[in-house]
Amino acid sequence: MLVVAPFGPAPGKVLSAVEEALADAFRLPVRLRDPLEEPARAFTPARGQWSSTAFLEALVGRVPPGAARLLGVTERDLFVPVLSFVYGQAQLGGQVAVVSLARLRPEFHGLPPAPAALARRAATEAVHEVGHTFGLVHCLDRRCPMSLSIDLADLDGKTATPCPACGALLEGSREMQRTRARTEGARP
């Protein structure tokens, strides 16, 4: 089971799109949980941004029993020290990941709001970050959600469905097989 948890309020349509995309991409049940309190220490005044690593650390101890992965969704603009920003971050081969809606919003770039575009982008990035937790690395197929997004044009060119190569790696991975076995075992 994959669990999605917003840090504070998040648009319902965005969370629904994220749930649906994750369920389709990973063929696992997805549950939305109650909002989490965002980690105040994540804010870095010198940068005016929020530490993505601090969000991951806040998620690590909160993976619900029986959940394979926990994805946090935040409105905050995230960064890692060496980069100017990130759309999200994941523990590569780990259990937690986080996605930021900040730069996915057209408003951030001076454009009019577009809720449908925001939902689509959030869904794609959610699949990207959760894909990393299953060990997938960046893909060269520009339409694959695992490809690196340089800008919104790249993001908008991606689908939320892993390409055949990434799909095969995912299904063939021991981690996914273990996850499916646990999920099947947990079914009544």
Binding site: V80, P81, V82, L83, S84, L92, H132, L148, I150
Partner: protein, 194 residues
């Protein structure tokens, strides 16, 4: 496959090292880290890395000093200097000492990924070129033309003499006598082959 390329990230700030290493691992590369110039040199002694990311300002050996030591071990090392203190002088100094690139942190995510991709693409081409050259040279060296015939042995000696000269050579003979083989042997036995 990117996993076969090893990258070393060196920075005395663990948060910087780990964030860059994590980014590169997401790109599919195998990444080692070091927290000082000395540690980086020890790791470079143990293996040759495709790319070295070196922070400019570190206690002890700085990025440029570390780069120079690594170059003694691996003369073709691809080094990227990273720094938060961007000045034209430091950029020039780094490039003069042989850094391949100079990156100011924090940088756009695209910058790191495209830079590494470009360097790896060139390394792939260099590797392929070296393999093809070795195959070609092996195929056409005159040592591989087998003969005990006295006249052929004379020709082999002539090929050896001519191969070391820079003059234009005309090879004459009837059809089927091996003119092309001799021409290639002259080419690959001397400087022309390079």
């Amino acid at each position: 496959m990117r996993a076969r390329w090893h990258i070393l990230v060196v920075d005395d700030e663990e948060a910087m090292t780990e964030s860059l290493a994590a980014w590169l691992r997401e790109d599919g590369y195998t990444v080692d880290t070091a927290s000082s110039g000395r540690e980086a040199i020890e790791k470079a002694r143990a293996r040759e890395y495709a790319i070295y990311f070196l922070d400019l300002k570190m206690p002890g050996l700085d990025g440029i000093e570390t780069m120079m030591e690594i170059r003694k071990l691996h003369k073709d090392a691809s080094v990227i200097i990273i720094t938060a203190y961007a000045t034209v002088d430091t950029a020039i100094a780094a490039m003069k000492e042989g850094a391949q690139e100079y990156v100011v942190k924090p940088c756009h995510p695209q910058e790191i990924s495209l830079l590494v991709e470009r360097i790896i693409r060139v390394k792939n081409l260099e590797r392929e070129n070296a393999i093809l050259r070795r195959k070609l040279t092996r195929q056409y060296r005159f040592h591989d033309i087998v003969s005990k015939n006295a006249r052929m042995v004379e020709i082999f000696e002539l090929v050896k003499d001519v191969a070391s000269q820079r003059s234009t050579v005309l090879v004459q003979g009837e059809s089927g006598t091996g003119k092309e083989l001799v021409a290639r042997a002259i080419h690959f036995s001397g400087d022309r082959g390079d």
